[in-house]
Symmetry: C5
Subunit: 367 residues, 5 copies
């Protein structure tokens, strides 16, 4: 029990509660303010510059250093963690050519996942989901990617290891990653994100199956909270994944000069994965509805069983008790009292009543 | 309790009841009549004229004064509050070039949200929602916007402070607002409206979560009314927001000469916000369905618990009472009566019966 | 009660029962036969001929008289009430150029609402709904409109006052109606029809709200029939309004030479109204589902309350009765019987049992 | 009861059971095998040859005779009943130019309704539904139509009188049928088929209404089987009619040289009828859902009534019985026993208890 | 019972449990790893080379042997069973020109069904379903088909006899199969796959009907697990078949040079079959919902019956027992006790009470 609790609902509830507030209504847009759940993570920039032969990396919290780090003709990837210092983010964005509205999207941890594009850039926001190592709850944060020629900016709210394998492949030079332009890196990053979606879907499916089995084993105390929270999580997951269909579809059909023909088949593959994830979430939703129906039917069935026992016990013993009550009466004249076999006849009557009731219950198919 | 009541249902009910009637069927259109819930708010016009350097304002209830106030080449914004004086509204509309059917739309407080456009003007009606400061209920009124070159007319039924920050930005000259044509003002106003939608959605979500938690804590008396009213409010909100998808989509794709290319990205952003609000409302709807299912399952579960206790108590005590009844009979011949250990045997029989029942209940997994 | 009954279900049921039969299968089409619910209304024709200066009217049952009444160059409107004399209708139709299949559509009181058009004519069938003055039930009949240059034919099954205000405006010469060609009259008639839809929707909504309030006030006897009939009426209304979306949309986009550009904005307005009516009906449907859920939850809740009382009473008195039964036994040896404070101890035991039960119920949150 | 039984479910069940098997998987297509429910109907061909002046008919089971019967320049209609002799059907098909895959479609009694066309032919399969004269059950069989210039082939599984009126009109020469090419015959046949759909829909609607009324009258034993079978039949009907939308739509938009412009308006009319039938089936589905909700609510309501009676009886008599038990105890010291008005006081106490309980029940609104 | 068990749920559960894991997140794509449920099946290649006159076959596990076996100008079909040796599969794929991403798709036993095409190849993945001969459970495996000019590669996870009839037809030279290019073989294989879908659908339908009948016969113990598992299987089947719509549609509209015009009508037929299968699955879904409703209604109905018996027994015997208790009291003064006909009067009172209750129950329509 205790190991499932954190995954179950307390975080979910707090999460929804702590949404980090809304942007004050009718504020002038473009004013950089961070809105989200991680206001205590300091900004840190990991910068990577690579080509087929070279690989350099730098960790800093200084936007100017990043600009100096960038080398012409070589892909540069800046991975920014921690968005609380909104002005520094805005300055960094300005330094690398982000439109103020996009900076606002970067800083809005509750924004909608979307893809925006222009001739010169591609901008994507999405949810980064990750099952924590203890498999106890899902870490959910906002991720923004900005792609320009030879430039990849990624912004996330709190540290995560989702991209470590990609960094590792860059560092080791294995695979095609280092020899390709920045759109291939985009694909690698999105592929990592979507792979983690499947891990989360898998975990949710296991939860539903555990509940299903508990129901089937006729669990002593049916964990109805679990089912309710699992269903809420399926709905939430579904909402988070839904925009991925459009984003990946746009990527695989985009005629942006940033996307080469060679990577198109990879983005089509990504689209297949996204659709698959969305389909699986829809199936989870149907499955959760089916489990709910099963739960209700089980409860009703069980109630029937209980009622049958209650009705049988009552129907057997109420007449018997009445009969015993009759012969406990104190009428002066009560002929049976003085019969010799009165007591015997009483028991015979009882047996007849019980037999009749049993016959009746069997005919009603209650026993 | 008391603080939630006004938000909950009495206003909702009265609101629906007091819809302000319908237009008499088959009346000649174009006859100016106000239809709505605020027939007691007198008309007041706030007029603003501005450009990058200047800002003037005027408060009046005289349409002619407004026409004199308008200065060629400068954006003018007339904000009209209170629609009960239908003829004055019609006169104002005529003075500024509104089609009679549009005037009718302005005066119909129950109309459908929509966008209508022509080469020379853009006309939008929508719902203006605002959570009152005490967070107790949602103020819902009808808002009409009419845009022509260098002219913005806004009509609302009762005073509201939704646009105060926009007026403040105009007055202070902060941001880009004063240097831009009137389409940027349109965007600022719509942005303010949609920001308030999120506040209302947030409040509804909190209500559903409060109900959810009350259910989870096994509230002594389940507030089923609350859930029902929250669901009705979600349905109503959903209906009010739904047309925003089309309105903002049309704005971001419109080729109206009134909308400059520079603001198009802002309207696209607006469209994203509207979609996000609609998506969140859809999720609220699903959430409310899930809470309903949870409620029903909880009630059924609780009924099961009650029935189990009832069945156990009956199944234990009915046989015992029968047994006690037997030995309370007055047969002259009742051998056990005179046994020495009869009473002891009776209690032993009772214990055996109770133990058997408990074993049975445990096997049935009731205890 | 009695005042709502006619509105509620008996008419509905009879209506569905008395549908007036079906066309005999596989009959040759074009044979004029009236199919519908008003076979006892005799045919009557009201003819109106008007232009900006003149207005003439004629009431007859003679098709030939109508043809003589028609004046070249002037709009003529023939309003036919009562369709039982199918041959006369067919003759009238032939005289004014209706295709035989259209005559069949005119005579089929159960047909589907639709718009059919050709270069020379426009033909519309729809449902004419009207709340009777006593607000007791909805009069539902079939209406057919046929428009040709300077000619408007309307056919309805039984007398109605829906078009009286339009006739009044024609007669008085107020508004634009008399100065416009016949497409403006079409708009005025459809507008009158749709205005009455809103009256019917309003009435249905009040019914649902009355049921909702009755539920909320914990009505002694829940009027489940009412809810069921209201839901059936919402479904039926929804089916009747649904085709209006397509009809009004086609009208506002039609390139028929019969529709002038000047009236197009009026038909667009009509389309908005139709969509609004359909949206409201959809909301009624959702509302009725929500009321149903509320009803089921209330019933279940109430059952819980009843069961709690039953379980508490049983759990308190069954043990007590058993105890009383024990000391009513007639064992010769029953030591407590002769104790001095036996009776006192008995009552103390009773009080302990009751207190224990109450403590248990409180812990279970039943009290 | 007995008259509804055959219509109700036993035939339905057997029907589904006796589906006539599937084509053996992965068999070479084009091998003629009959798959269906009527393997015992021998083949019979009714041949009709007609033009405006002539009409000839022939009944045979010989395909060659049919070919001889066909006269150039005159429409010929071959109506084949009974498909068990697959080879003869295939031979007939080959003689009149059917593609082997179409012959397979003719012979597959479980196939999907569809329209297939080529420059030289039109091929339609659909379900032929017919309420038997005793109105007891629906005869459901497979119908295939093949149209080529001056040739109409129709294939059905078992004898039916659906097309008798059409034959009659051909024979009598009434109406336009004989003077028109074969596409008009196609329309007449499809119109007959769809007219029978309405008869079946009508019968299903009556069944649902009968159930509805039985519920309303508080039927002693609610016929839940009936509702379940009616719903299954609505689902099945809906599935059978659904493809008609596409078939009739294709017919009314087809540019096949087999369809003349003159019949196009008739096919459009057919499309309207098909849509109407599908709409009505959808409404039946909603109606059946509403009846189900009504049923569940009624059962729950009734359960509430029962529980109230049970709870009241228990709550009144359990305390009374306890009290009687107390004064049936045999304690030596039981002061009330010897009171003079003890018995009177007992009855007064009983009345007080009953009155208190009644007051409580009234406050709970149970009585 | 025992014969249905394996089909019912244990395999299903284990199947879902043993999904064979996920690809490690963010791994470099193109690395060949088998993901699926059959890691213990060794690779085996059956190679067939044929034309109108010749037929040769070879069974091997050597990719190089296959390349030697291939003869120019003749269709070659390699059927690969067992995917655990990922490197050998990758080598084979490379030898016959598969893109690395397609090899990954071949090796992913949990991938989504899809069609991918290029000028030079067509690639299809789908689910191969087969009811095992004992009709006890459904074998579900992943199938990949790759078509290039004169080349067909098929990959499946474990041995199956679905394609035996096709091989037989190739071997025997019956039918058109051997004389046609490889697209006709593609059609034959897909036709075999879809034919087996119908077998599985049929089996599921029988299961649902068995449950339905059990419900109708008022089965002693309602097999609610069966229903729940059948519904889960319907959902799963629906998910597996859904992509077939798009795949077969693309095939019948594809302009790939690999598909000749002659086979197009066969692919259109295939599309019809796929749609039919999907429609039937949708109907199964509706049917299963209807059965669920039926189940819930039956349970509720039965509960009503039980409650009625309980309420009647209680309402009859509680008053009687009270009356017997009264005359069992030991008051010194209890006048009736010494009445001569007291005992008789007691029984008369009992009969009156019983008669009154029976009258009441009949009026309530409980009996």
């Amino acid at each position: 029990m205790s190991d499932k609790k954190p995954f179950r609902h307390r975080p979910g509830r707090r999460h929804r509660r702590r949404r980090g507030g809304l942007k004050p209504p009718a504020q002038e847009p473009g004013t950089p303010t961070y809105v989200g759940l991680h206001p205590d993570v300091p900004m840190r920039i990991e910068a990577f510059s690579y080509d087929a032969e070279h690989f350099e990396s730098l960790t800093t919290d200084n936007a100017a250093a990043c600009q100096r780090f960038q080398q012409p003709g070589r892909p540069t990837w800046l991975h920014v963690t921690g968005l609380r210092e909104a002005e520094k983010i805005a300055a960094l964005g300005q330094g690398f050519g982000l439109h103020p509205l996009l900076v606002e999207d970067v800083l809005n941890g509750n924004g909608r996942s979307k893809l925006d594009q222009d001739d010169a850039w591609l901008f994507i926001t999405l949810r980064l989901l990750r099952l924590d190592p203890a498999q106890e709850h899902v870490e959910d944060q906002h991720l923004a990617l900005h792609i320009a020629p030879n430039l990849m900016l990624t912004f996330c709210e709190s540290p995560t290891d989702v991209f470590h394998p990609v960094v590792q492949r860059l560092r080791d030079g294995t695979g095609r990653l280092r020899a390709q332009p920045v759109d291939f890196l985009l694909w690698a990053l999105l592929d990592a994100v979507i792979d983690h979606y499947f891990v989360v879907i898998e975990a949710l499916e296991s939860r539903l199956e555990r509940i299903d089995e508990a129901l089937e084993d006729g669990a002593n105390r049916i964990e109805i909270h679990d089912l309710h929270h699992a269903r809420a999580d399926v709905i939430a997951l579904s909402r988070k994944l839904r925009p991925m269909r459009e984003i990946t579809s746009q990527l695989s059909h985009s005629d942006s000069p940033l996307l080469s023909n060679a990577t198109r088949i990879f983005f089509r593959d990504l689209y297949d994965h996204a659709i698959h994830a969305i389909d699986q979430t829809d199936d989870l939703r149907e499955l959760s509805n089916s489990v709910r129906d099963y739960f209700l039917a089980s409860v009703n069935n069980r109630m029937n069983e209980i009622m049958k026992v209650l009705a049988c016990v009552s129907a057997v013993f109420l007449p018997l008790t009445f009969l015993a009550g009759v012969y406990g009466m104190n009428f002066d004249v009560l002929p049976e009292k003085s019969w010799r076999y009165g007591y015997l006849f009483f028991w015979i009557a009882c047996i007849v009543i019980v037999a009749g009731m049993l016959w009746f219950f069997r005919r009603m198919k209650w026993l």
